[in-house]
């Protein structure tokens, strides 16, 4: 972070890009969604600031899910690189953003004490990683492609292969959690969680494309996944213009 940092106001969230809180096809949302409308705030310092992270917070292998839990061998599954850029709505690179990911193993099993799926845990795969974006908003990590898995929604529902993403941004108002899907997966269009989003363009933003240019020959394939956080513009509120609405 530099001293020249200009306070930036985060532009209003466009809810057309997002799932509504109440989405009955995803059953758990029925009792976990507020019934009242959200109350909209104009930004104050509380919203335009957020935690700052540094490379000291992370370990050297944190973005290598193939190696960061390997105990006595390599994990089983498709070796892939996932990479891309994080920008804001105006196209600015989101620098120094904390990108955290988590996922199931190649068989669709999570390393979590609450996951009871009968597919086995891979002793050499943890399933989480994290990385800071660089000056250009670029990030990359290496992993095993996760398998689909069944879940209790409708009895026959299966999640498409996906990787969970969490992004810090530079303002608490930009905080975002989402999921990345893989190009061509036929489960995407049947998934009740994907379908909480009532906008095909918005769904497409969650689908990573196969990126053979970034693949490492005879080693691993690659997927490209770019993300966009809410736009932020230089703010006037330290010297606000006369008569602006409160």
């Amino acid at each position: 972070m530099t001293d020249k940092w200009t306070p930036r106001e985060v532009v209003h969230r466009d809810y057309n890009s997002h799932p509504p809180a109440f989405a009955p096809g995803y059953k758990t949302s029925v009792l976990r969604s507020p019934r009242n409308a959200l109350i909209s705030l104009q930004n104050s310092l509380s919203e335009i600031t957020g935690p700052v992270f540094s490379s000291d917070d992370l370990g050297p292998q944190d973005n290598d899910l193939i190696l960061n839990y390997a105990k006595d061998g390599l994990p089983i599954g498709e070796r892939i690189i996932v990479h891309g850029y994080v920008r804001d709505g105006f196209g600015r690179p989101m620098k120094n953003t904390l990108v955290e990911v988590w996922q199931a193993n190649a068989g669709g099993r999570y390393r979590h004490k609450k996951d009871q799926y009968l597919a086995p845990v891979d002793p050499n795969f943890g399933g989480c990683g994290r990385v800071l974006t660089d000056e250009n908003g670029y990030y990359f990590f290496r992993t095993i492609k996760p398998g689909p898995y069944p879940w209790r929604n409708q009895a026959s529902d299966w999640r498409p292969s996906h990787i969970h993403f969490s992004l810090s941004g530079e303002a608490f108002a930009q905080r975002l959690i989402t999921q990345m899907y893989f190009e061509g997966d036929p489960l995407i269009k049947q998934c009740p969680i994907v379908k909480t989003i009532n906008n095909d363009d918005a769904i497409r933003t969650l689908i990573a494309e196969l990126d053979t240019h970034a693949a490492v020959p005879l080693d691993c394939l690659a997927y490209r996944f770019d993300l966009v956080l809410r736009g932020s513009r230089a703010t006037l509120f330290e010297n606000r213009t006369q008569g602006a609405a409160r």
Binding site: D3, W5, R13, D14, S17, P19, A21, A23, Y26, T28, S29, V30, L31, R32, S33, P34, R35, N36, L38, I39, S40, L41, Q42, N43, S44, L45, T49, P51, V52, G59, N68, Y69, D88, G89, F90, E100, W102, Q103, Y110, R111, D115, G127, C128, G129, H164, S166, F172, R175, L176, I177, T178, Q179, I193, T196, I197, L206, V228, L229, G231, F237
Partner: protein
């Protein structure tokens, strides 16, 4: 608006959010350094407090797989972020102002160890009452929910807080007040969050 990139769509954090954001809670050790619910070290300035509560769904059942983050100013009322240029308020190098916690899988109780924040200047120079910003994700929550916790022993400041006063239903303002209690040597602010129903907490669109 043609050149404007739409924000990436949100999706639920799901029931296994702990794997990525709190792996020790998921049941395994992987990272050398973990982000957690303790915001203080021995050098941090300010009054030590605990913020504790549960999150309830629309049936009144505790949500046991919730993950929360808090973001707050230091004891002087300044955020540890380069955009905070309030004058006359010192930064505290021993306070990042951010923490991450999750509910206990059995009781649903979550807890943060932090300090009581000072007041921050809001828009138009109006002083905001001391508050902690919270962000809540879980299975069944499609987009993270934002709220604020204010302090029950700051009634005077709360009365003139510009954000509390935006809530035209006065009866709903009290859902944002953490209740101070003394528990042994600990000062605890109890802050239960109701996602839906009668005592529904106020959530904000930031």
């Amino acid at each position: 608006m043609k050149d404007y990139l739409p924000e990436t769509a949100s999706q639920t954090a799901g029931p296994y959010v702990h794997i990525g954001l709190a792996p020790e809670a998921a049941g395994f050790h992987i990272f050398e350094k973990n982000f957690g619910p303790v915001l203080t070290n021995s050098q941090t300035q300010g009054e030590r407090i605990v913020i504790e509560g549960r999150v309830f769904d629309g049936s009144g059942t505790p949500v046991r797989d919730v993950l929360l983050e808090i973001w707050q100013a230091n004891a002087a009322g300044r955020y540890n972020h380069p955009a905070d240029r309030q004058s006359g308020k010192n930064l505290d190098a021993d306070f990042r102002g951010w923490g991450r916690g999750c509910s206990d899988f059995d009781s649903g109780v979550w807890r943060f160890d932090t300090i009581k924040p000072g007041a921050v200047t809001g828009r138009d120079g109006r002083i905001m009452a001391p508050h902690v910003n919270l962000w809540i994700v879980a299975r069944g929550i499609n987009i993270g929910l934002n709220t604020r916790m204010y302090f029950s022993d700051e009634q005077e400041a709360n009365r003139t807080d510009p954000v509390l006063n935006l809530i035209e239903w006065e009866v709903r303002r009290k859902t944002l007040i953490g209740q101070r209690e003394q528990r042994g040597s600990e000062t605890v602010y109890r802050f239960d969050i109701h996602l839906q129903g009668e005592a529904e907490t106020v959530f904000f669109d930031l």
